[in-house]
Subunit: 228 residues, 2 copies
DNA sequence: TTCTGATTCAAACGTATGTTTCAAACAACC
DNA sequence: GGTTGTTTGAAACATACGTTTGAATCAGAA
């Protein structure tokens, strides 16, 4: 039994990585750079310096490899989200509610933490995350669906308690808008500078997260339009 | 010379569509449903009931077909955005500024209008739009880059005038967050109901746009965190 | 050492893709 | 009506893919 991991996610942790880990690492980088569909097993195994057949031997198929990678990334993020929300709620005065900022921070920051601990560049990492949501034929691995259901349930009830004037279904939508803001924004940083002519500058990842949280707090707490 | 189009975007407008239009229509639907990479020219030409070679004859290559489709969708949206902003600014009292809601409405609503006029289902359409931003190997066609630059420039200056307390680069970022909120949200409506256990309901497209605009107004006008 | 199960390896298989070819069909003009 | 340029058609081309195969190699227990 190995020592407890201090990192949330790191397939290259071992000093002498196994074939399986070499595949995972190389595949993460390539998938992030070019997408699940476009990267061939030959490209992966060549980058990992392993035999072509080893992917099918260790994972069964390319699809199963993709599932394993998604699971490896998403699971620690969701675990960290729940832990942070647990911590916030356990320290909370029972007759008070959590500030929106704390809820959103607990929701968004684990993503940034995993990036910093990963061996992927920021851009690569977010592209990979974004693909988990946007890939053409994407179906989420069964194993992570209950995770996400739990996360959505916990955070939306926490937000509903803090923002009792908002209808519950709107809470879910706004949580969803928040995910979109984070993922889409971070996926296309370079595109933004293309369109803005460099006006957007290049804020650090922490500055960017602050800007995103500010924006999402405003969106979350926004008054409900009286239309409809 | 044909009559002026009343629709912003409609490749199937002709009563007896040409081979080129048949290809465009079928390709739009298939790309939206399954992604640029996954849809083969054989699938497209079969759906369009044209010969396989006609894609390369009329468009030159599959990539050129993709570019043409993106251009067909994006151009009328950006034109409508600029026209709406022009109208708002021409009616504006010179010593007043535009409400954030009006700016965001002019920015976001053209997307929804194009959906309604398109022959694609809402979901299909947004998937196609989302792919324009998220596809693995995606490179924007050169022809639409200046369009987007113009849109970003116009809308960010309008927003900067209305929100003079915000630093200009933050304006650009918040405009970008807004795009992300719209695209990502509308791309994954069904995923949301998977995770929320149906709590999100199924609002109409107009209700959804209202919710998005509410959220984005809040985000746009949110106070700037004093961190950093 | 010898045997056994797990892993690696080079090669091949079957299939699907984008593209090209070139003859046939068509349309428009003198 | 015949000619010319454009468009369609069926077939083939070259390539790339995920997967499978079966022998070779390795590691560890008997």
């Amino acid at each position: 039994m190995p020592l407890a991991d201090t990192k949330l996610h790191d397939p290259a942790a071992a000093a002498d990585p196994t074939t399986k880990d070499r595949i995972l690492l190389a595949a993460e980088e390539l998938f992030a750079a070019e997408g699940f569909e476009k990267v061939s097993l030959r490209a992966i195994t060549q980058a990992a310096d392993v035999n072509l057949a080893s992917v099918n031997y260790h994972f069964g198929s390319k699809d199963a490899l993709i599932d394993a990678i998604i699971e490896n990334i998403v699971t620690p993020i969701n675990r960290e989200r729940i832990e942070r929300l647990d911590a916030l709620e356990s320290e909370l005065d029972p007759d008070k509610t959590l500030p929106t900022r704390d809820i959103l921070d607990a929701f968004l920051r684990p993503l940034v933490i995993v990036i910093k601990e990963s061996d992927l560049s920021e851009q690569m990492f977010f592209r990979l995350m974004g693909r988990c949501m946007a890939e053409p034929d994407y179906r989420m691995p069964e194993s992570v669906v209950p995770q996400f259901q739990n996360v959505v349930q916990r955070f939306s009830t926490a937000a509903a308690r803090s923002l009792p004037t908002l209808p519950p279904d709107l809470i879910v939508w706004r949580l969803y808008f928040t995910i979109g803001t984070l993922l889409q924004s971070l996926m296309h940083i370079e595109a933004l500078n293309t369109f803005s002519g460099g006006k957007a500058g290049e804020p650090s990842l922490d500055d960017l997260l602050t800007r995103i949280i500010d924006y999402c707090i405003g969106g979350f707490e926004a008054p409900v339009s009286n239309s409809k």
